[in-house]
Structures are given as C-alpha cells and as structure tokens.
Subunit: 366 residues, 4 copies
C-alpha cells in the first residue's frame, strides 16, 4: 500500500531509509506567504539529533536539511515544499549476521513476510531516521499554528518506572535536561535508572506527554474523524508507541462519572470555564478550546546486547547479541516527533473545518 | 468536514441521530458473491441492544435492520449495501431544560461551538445510536473475515477497578454474562460495584479487550499507515474511548527491553514461533500472523443524576441533575462496537495490501 | 473497490439499483444552518423525471424523496443528510432473456467480468436511476453555492447533428422546451430528428453545456487537482459520457496561440477583464472568476429495438431486439445530472481552498 | 489545498518549480521486487526532453534523474522511491517585465488570485517541468504494467488542422518522427504547418491519442470511480489539455445507437469478441479487456512573440511580446506525459480491484 502520506489538506509524504542516500519529505498544502527558511526546520531537527547526551547514541548524524522547492523570496509559495537530509554516516559494515536472522522486537520478520525480502541495513524504513521527514514537516506545521496563536509543549513524563510529579513540574527544565523532563528530581532518578540499564545491557521505555494551548474550539467531527481519533492514529504511527491516552486516558476507565465529568461555571470574564479537564480538551471528538492533553507510551529500544533467542532465514534457532551503538532509550529523541505529529494533525483538521457552518463559510468567501 | 465515512477500499458511511427518523449505514466495497441476509446483521445488532440487563437502559429500542440495496438472490452484488434501522421509541418529551444548558461530559458545548446550534434531543449524532451503523457494517466485515479464516473475540476486561484475571479466564462466560466478562468471579464483583454506582446515582467506566486469531501476516505499512495506528484511530473514534493499547500497551513504557522483546524459536513443525506476544501481533506496524491483542479504555457514562454545576446558553451558572433512564455503564454494549471497528480496519487494510510485492501481484492478475 | 463516494470535504455516497427497494444518497460535510426541506430536493429530481415528453420513457416513476437525518427545525445540523427514494414501479417482468445474454452498449458483460454475476434486472447499478442520488445531493450543493452568489446554468447544446446557434440563444427556452434547448428553432429540428430515430427504432446522442456564473477566483490547484481535471472526472463519471470539454475544448487543438489566448484589458471599473473566454474560466487549473464553460458528449441510448448481434452466457451468437419503453435520447434528462456533478465539484474544491494563503487562514481563524 | 498527490494505492507526489533547485517525485505503493534502476526512468524522461527537434525549444535541459530511496540490490523494496532531477539551466535573467504583468494564456493571474503572489520566473509550478515527476513515476508504472502484460502506445494524432489518416498509420514512424506522428505524410504536412507558425510568431495545438493493449477486464467501478472518469481526470490534470475523449468521444454525441453500439459475436476460439470498439474498451465504467482508446486535446502554447494586450499589477493596460525560446507546439513532448498519466491511472485502479468478488479475494489470501 501507499502508507507514507499523512494528512488530507495539509499533506506530507516522507521517504528514505537509514542506509540509503538520504531521507526527506514533501509538504503539500502549506499556505502561501509564510516566512520560512532552513533554520526554522533545523531547530526542530536538532531536537531529535543523537549524541546529545550519554543516553542517546554517540554517533554523529549531522542532519542538515535542504529545502528544494516551494519557497520564493523567503516565503512559501503555496506549492509543495521538498526537503532532503542526506545520510552522511554510512559506514561500510558487516551486515551478514543481521541479514540472516530476525532481531527480536524489530520489524525484520514482518518485512520479509510483507515484501518477500528486506533492506537489512539498520532497519531500513523502520529506522528512527524515518522520523526526520516527520519532524521537518512538523516544524512547518508548528510555525503555521504559532501564527494562529496555538502552541504545543511536549516533554518526557516517565522513563521506565520513574515519573514526573506535578508538584515538581518546572517547564524550564525541559530544555535544560537531556531527557526533556520538566522535573529535575525525576530527571536525576531517571538518569540513574538508565545507567543501570546500560550496565545490564538493557533498555528502557517511557511516556511522552503533550499539551496544546490556544487550540481553536469546534475542530474535529462527531463520528469517525474525531480529533482524538486522528491524534491517536498520528501518535500510534510513530514506531515503538504501544499506547495512547487523551485526557485521563486509561485511568478514566477506573473512574466514576461524578469524578470524570468536567463541570462548568461562568468565568469571571463571563465566559464558560471547565472546573477540571479530565477530558483533555475534546468532547464528542470536537475541541472545546481548552488545553488538549495526550500521552504516548513508548516501548523500550529493542536493540539490546543481551543474549536473545531467534531464528535464521535458513530455519535454525540461534542465540544472538545485537551489537552496535544503540540508544538505551528513545523517549527523549521521540519528544519532538510526538510534537510534530500532533501539530500536523491539528493543522490538517483545522483546515477541514471551514465547512462546519454557513456563517463561517459566507464570511470566508465574501 | 465529512467525518462519517470510514475505510478506503472497504468503506462505510453512517448517518442518523438518536431522535431523527432512523440511523443507517452504506457499506461500499464489499466483494460480490458473499451470502448475506438481514439475520447476519441482526445478530450483531442484538449484542448492542439495550435492556439486556439491569446495567443497561430498560428502554426497548427494537432495532430491526432493513437491507435496501446491494443484495441479489441472497448474495452481495459488489455494489453499495444500504441498511436502515428506523427509530421507534421517539417519545415526545420535554427537552426545554437540556436545550438551554450544557451537560457536563457530553458534547453539547462543543456542538454549539462547531455548528452554531444543535439538535438537543438526546445527543444527536453523538448518541450511542450512531454506533448502530458501525455494528451493521461490522457484521459484514466479520463475515468476510471469517471466510478468510480470521476470527475476532471481544469482551469486557475491566469494570471500574474490577478486572478479570488470567487464571479465571473462561471464554464461555462471555456470552453467558450480561457484562460480557470471561471470568465469573470478576463478573460477580463487577455486578456489585455497579449496584453501588446505581445506588449513588453514579456511573462507571471500564476496559474492553479484543483478540484476533488467524490474522494474515504482512498487513499494514511501516510509516503512517501502521496497522496499529489504524486500529488506534478506529477504536478511538468510538465515543467515550479515552485510551488505546496494543499488546502490552502503557505497561510497555515501564518495561525493559529484555522483558518486552518477543524472542523467536523454531516451532516443532519447523515454522517460526514467538516465545511471548508483548507486541500484540504487530511489529513495525505490520502484522506477523500471531494474535492481535488490543484494549480500549472507556470513560464512565456522563449522564448521572447527581447534582452537577453547569452553565446555560444565556450565561448563568446552574446546578442540574440529568434525569432519564441512563446506563450506569456502557462498556458491555460497546463490546460489539469495538469488535466491529476492529473488523472494518483489518479488512480494509488487507484490501490495501495487494501491491506489497510483485509475486503477489502477478499471481493475482494472472 | 468502493466507488460510490464523491468529494472529499463535501462528500456524497450514493446507493441503490433500478430494481431494488430504492435508491439514495448520504450527503456529508454540508454546513450547519442551511435552511433545507424536501421541496428543495424535489425540484431538482423533477427535472430528471421520465415521462415529461414524448422523448423520454412514458413510464411514471414518481420519485419522491424522503430526508431521514441531518435536519433539525428546518435547518441542516452539519451531520449527514440521508435521503431515500423508494422504487415504486417494479413490475414483475420476464428477465429470462436479458439474464442470459449481453446487451450491446450496456455494462452487462463488464459486470460479469468484474463481479462474477450481476443483477440483470434493468441495469442494476448502471441504471439511470443511480443518478437520483447525485441529483438529490446536487440540489443541496446548488443551494449552498447560491448562498455564496454562484449560479449554474445547464442545457442541451446539441441532439445528434442538430446544434443550437449563438444568435438564436434564448435562456427562457430552456425550461419551456422538453428538450431543455435554449434555441426554439434548433429544438424544433431536434424534435423532428428524434421522431425519425423513434421511427427507425434507433436512438440519438447529444451534447450538454454548462455555464457557471459568479465563480470565486483562486479555486483549484496547479497540479493534479486542477479544477478542470476534477470537473472532467465528475462529468465523465456520468454513464454515457464519452467526451469532456472545458472552454474551447477539442477545438483549441486546431487553433493557433494568437486565437486561443485570452487577452486582458482594464475594465471600465478598473478591474481586469478578459477580452475573450476561450479558456472557459480556468487557467493553470485555477478559476479566474469569469464564466466557467464546459460540455459533455453523450452517447446514444444503447437500448434500441433494432436487431443486434450478441452472445449468450452459454456461448452462442444470437440476434436480439431490446424490447421495452426506452428513451430515444437521455440527453434532456441528463442535463440536471451534469449540473449536479458540476455543483458538487465546485463546492468541494472551494472547501479545499481555505489553506491557499496565510492571510485567508488568519482571517478565517481569528 | 494539497494537489500534488495522484493515486490512492499506487500514489505519487510531485514537487518543484521551473526555476527552483530541482523537480522530483515520490512514488509510494510500488510493489517490492521490481528490478529498477535509473536507466528505466531516464528512457522516459528523454522522450519529453526539449531540443529534440526544431519544434521544441533549443535550450538544453539535460534532465538526469537520481533515485534516492526505495531500491536495494537493484530491486524495489516496497517503500517510497524518491527521485530528483536538479534544474541546471537557471540562467540569471531579467524577469522584471514578466513579474509586473499577466501573460495571456498563462496562469499568472490565477496564481496571484489564489496565493496572493507568485514565483514569476518561468511559470513556477505551472511550468512544463512539473511533468518531469509525472514521467519519472509513469516509467515505473509502465514497467509494472508491462510485467502484467499491459502495453501502452501513445502518439500525436493531430497538429493544428493536420490529422493522421488510418490508411497511412505506421507504428514505426512514431519513434522516427520528431513529432511522434505515426503517418509520414501527415508528419510532413504538420512540419510545414509549424514552420508557418514559427514564421508568423504563432503557436499550434494538437491531439494526442493513447491505445492500451492487454488491459485486464473488470477494472473500474460503476459509479463515480469509472475507469473512464479517472482517465479523464488524469489526462485533464496535464497543463494545456482542454478536451478528453474515450472511444468515439464527442463524435458519439452525433451518432445513432445502431452505429455506436458495439455488437458481440463468438470469436473463432470460442471467446466473446466485439465487432467494433466505439466504446474505447470501457462499458459502464469498467474495462472489458479490449483496447482502451482515448484522446487529449491540447491548446496551443500560450507563449507567442506576437503583440498581445494585457494588464499590469499596477493597473495599466499594456501591449506585450513574450520573448524567449518557446516551443511553437508542446504536443510532441506531451505524448509521454499522457502515457505516464494513463499508466498511473490503470495501475492504481487495478490495485483497487482486489475486492471485486469473494472468489478473487479467497484466492489471493489463501
């Protein structure tokens, strides 16, 4: 199938493998007249760069983006924006082992099942490098959203069993911490936990949380195209995501109605305010203008050096150790990927809302 | 926007409100030659019928489906299958209260924000009755899947804090229990818990689990159209779903790689078997042919008779009690809805897989 | 495949066969707040009604539309509008002949090739009755367009070799003439021509022309989603259409650049005016705000009573005569179908244009 | 809107402007295991290269394609194939004139209307260079089709008023003639005609015809997704196309049923054969396995050196002469573009047909 396109009106198409000539994205449907240059994109790409800390792979990828189309005199023209990041660190390496067996937790086996064969060098299309295109596109979506007054904050909520606590929440820690955790105490504990993982040749999962401020109300649809449903797909389309929560998420299943309902009262300014936000800013699939809150549960990096049992293509059970420089955790690098997917979803669904009511429509076309 | 269509190749379009003339669905892309009559559909609709137990609303809805097109001489013709269920229990009732304020936990406010006004009678398009079209279509998808050897089992995993236990799991209890719980002890406890909820004019959430057997391998795509991402959207498009998990779900975030990886070994018959199934049957977004396992976290019914604070359209804070016959829990009735959405997703994505490799393609077109 | 849905944001899904229980359409993405009732739809359906003249089938179909959802207190709610027209004139008839052989010019053979079998009663899904859903939906699209100042005029331009002449063009004749021809002299000649066709047990093709006034500029996209390309698909999706022309159409292929270019000059009011309109209101796939002009070439009705050679399912060449009351021409009844498809296309593409430039976007969302 | 993506299952996304850094395409949904390298693509690109004859612009574009992803060890991997052609002949040039006024017949005015401003260097996204991505993708589609036994032949049918004649049709002349005309006498006359156009600083339109052999039967859908409707959109999405015909096209509108119906008889081998092919291989929107025949009417090149009236951005009527090296006709270079769009459409619709009937489906998935 053709699964590399995301969005309907603001539409992106990504391409590229970890060990091919490069990775990239075509962004189509970006409004004309947005000031944009490569530095706008690079800032976002740098947030997913490896080698930022001891907990991400030390290899230097130097992901430098080039914009090939869609910009004229410093502004978007409304036509497709093509962006490429060339792969630079293609070391010649011996893949004979990896080519012959199926790494546990990776997509090696399912690729062979689907395609009949696979590019066995470093995960091919399932590599983390596939997210470069998402982030480059997400940077543009965020810039458009910012111009409309919408801002997205994303951070690490938990690493393994270590979770941030509301009382220690400090937004400034996000950019300070190599783990992007807004709680310095939790970050310290998490660092110790990751040291243990490295020492025992193991890896860790974690949770990413995303909060949207300034969201427009009325976005999303009551049936299949709920805003929450589209956010779920966007977030679960990121490799390694095994769970998605909006608002209280799975905890809502244990709650009673009297606890979970968000009651209303008039705000001092005469507007409507919710007294709580268990729903995460979406009711009946439609945004209510309050904070959108969601979380992604990320599985531990499958590449570990511990011995694991697997099977070869020729049909033998073998014990393997996945060598190489692997992140003991991908959560910090995935923070900006979640933010990108959320931005892409919000913008696309806002574009799809022009026809909600005749008043809007007449106003827009007059 | 146009959000009432789901699927690309096996495509359904639902319509109807709780208090209009009826609800229905058009199923397009169903293969020709499938034996089908109304009883195939009715069986599934009866599973979501209210009044089955003390824990669902006692009102009798008698949802009888009529097939209006797409069948000739007992078989599908390959053209759209239109199905209608007329609304029968439209009692004239006083909606003057509900019309004037915004019920907490309902979509009343977001409808007004989006559309400028709303059909205030019983939730309109956000009513549980919207799921009738989904289930009628799901019944057809399930029948096609069954012919291809794929079977879906769905049940209540938890009600409030009461969860089934693996050691008591008994598949036969699902159809025995009005709560669709495959654990008679848990079901008994859950019944007590719901009695308490009713007594305190409150409601409960819960968790639904779905297991797919016989899934074809190689379905799904490595990037945005991961099978897991599409299942996430499908499940989260059901009203009241606040969380989605595939395989170990949010628990994977707390695990280490050595625990979470599914190792392989040769099966006695010489095939490849996974020693565990933490991934839930999907790796890199592609099915591996093992059991697909997923869960939906459902929030408590928002309609409760306890006093709640809200705001009127004319701008006053008021205390309301939502009267009427409301389910203290919707989880049991939603079981077949989750099953339907899973079936629709699997079938549509299988159809989208013909072009995975040249060998398949040449075989299919020769 | 699932081919019964048209449009992306204003989306319609049709269903039904000529000899099933009915035909219908679900219109999704209609803005909330549009005043709408069944009479708005009926007016359009009546324009495609048979039995209006000697040149359409004398059978009385009495196509009465029922709206089942999406309207509340006389206005659209923004949710799907489901409309059904029940088939009334299902006479029991002997189809044993038609079931056994393939009628020339009909889709009998291709249905068997695609689906393995077919509903042989009267053309099934390829019947002219399939257009009822299109017209019912088109009536709504036209009403929305009218509110935005856009009006569509559609008429018969030619019947067989008889064509209207610019000097005799009289808009009032369209509704006067059973042939919907805006030229009374041409209409008279065409009537004679059709008499001859009837007499010789033959049928005639023709050309339908459509002119759009008040179109918004800037609608359409430079690449695949040209407004002209979408109009081409919309019009060619009508059964019996074999050719499509925009502006000068096929004649442009014979022209020179100096003849075909539309030059500009300032209008007396200071705006830009085109001195000619060979382009038909679209340049580079994008509307320029001037009249959109397009034509559809319609083949002659395939059902004729003359002897024709064909083949039976059991593999014999036979000579057949297609009996029954058939239109000697479908062009007049297809006029409103072309108009409907044009309206649906224009509206959907206008909805897709909100993101053309940042100024529009900021204006819309502020 | 996002209009640079074509196809649903075999999906392409093009990008790039005439005077940006390059143009390209991402091909998604190509089956794995197709042998493919750059020479397969280059062959098709060379067919649209300028400077091949006196009738196309003498500038040398040297369009060399680079494949950046989706190929491993000489075969497609099933993941997106990204191809780039860098723009080489970007001469610095004075665009101050062109920037200030609207060229007749070009999209200058509509771009300003849509986007608020435009990249005025050489047509931007509406340049003929936009078709490079289409042709590169079309080359891949053709290779897949060839492996399935389907071959497409495309040629110039007419240049201005000069048309090929059936009696002189010689397939070998297509590649011999710089005009791609399969009739040496017509080609000679056309050459004279073009000399005249050049001499009078004018340009010519023409007609391209496309014939598909070996088409699979049963492809396409009875309603909106007719094969003919999709071909119409594909062909009309090419800049400068003003008319589309399938089979007899507009001539069918003048015909009688007895002339236009294709009668059947048993073939000597016992199969069904059509005695004529007025329908062009499609009935009811579905292919019948016979030759598909279609035509595109192409308008004359709008860039001519004759004086023309136009308007400046600052609101003055001026007389301009469009200087530069322009093709007096684009038809010969557009032949391979039509072929590409037809190939992309056929393949995508074949992929969408797997679900036509249960027998196919069970066969495919077993």
């Amino acid at each position: 199938m053709a699964g590399s396109t995301f969005g309907n009106i603001f539409k992106i198409t990504t391409w590229g493998e970890s060990h091919g000539r490069g990775v990239g994205v075509v962004v189509d449907g970006c409004p004309a007249g947005l000031p944009l240059d490569e530095s706008d994109i690079q800032k976002y790409l740098d947030r997913r760069k490896p080698g930022q800390s001891r907990y991400s792979t030390p290899r230097k990828e130097e992901d430098t983006v080039e914009i090939l189309s869609g910009i004229f005199e410093g502004k978007t023209t409304g036509t497709p924006i093509s962006m490429t990041v060339y792969n630079k660190s293609q070391r010649s390496r011996d893949y004979s082992g990896i080519a012959g067996y199926y790494r546990p937790g990776h997509a090696d086996l399912t690729y062979d099942m689907k395609y009949g064969f696979r590019d066995y060098r470093g995960g091919g299309r399932s590599s983390g490098r596939e997210t470069i295109g998402r982030v480059a596109a997400g940077a543009i979506a965020c810039k458009v959203l910012n111009q409309l007054g919408i801002r997205i904050l994303t951070y690490t909520k938990a690493i393994g069993p270590i979770e941030i606590t509301p009382e220690n929440f400090d937004i400034h820690q996000i950019s300070e911490s190599p783990l992007y955790m807004p709680d310095s105490q939790a970050a310290e504990k998490a660092a110790h936990y990751l040291e243990e993982c490295i020492h025992s040749q193991d890896s860790s999962g974690g949770v990413i949380e995303c909060v949207v401020d300034g969201m427009k109300p009325g976005i999303g649809d009551p049936s299949f195209e709920k805003l929450s449903a589209n956010l779920a797909k966007a977030v679960c389309s990121i490799g390694a995501v095994k769970g998605f929560e909006i608002g209280d998420g799975m905890a809502a299943a244990k709650a009673k109605g009297s606890q979970n309902n968000d009651q209303y009262a008039l705000s001092p300014e005469g507007g409507i305010q919710k007294l709580t936000n268990h729903s995460g800013g979406i009711l009946g699939g439609i945004s209510d203008g309050s904070q959108i809150i969601l979380r992604a549960g990320i599985k531990p990096t499958p590449s570990i050096s511990q011995k694991q049992s697997t099977v070869t293509k020729s049909g033998q059970t073998v014990q393997i150790e996945v060598k190489g420089r692997h992140d003991p955790i991908i959560v910090p690098r995935a923070v900006v990927v979640v933010e990108s997917m959320v931005a892409l979803t919000l913008l696309d669904m806002m574009f799809a809302s022009i026809n909600s009511n005749m008043d809007n429509l007449i106003r827009f076309f007059s």
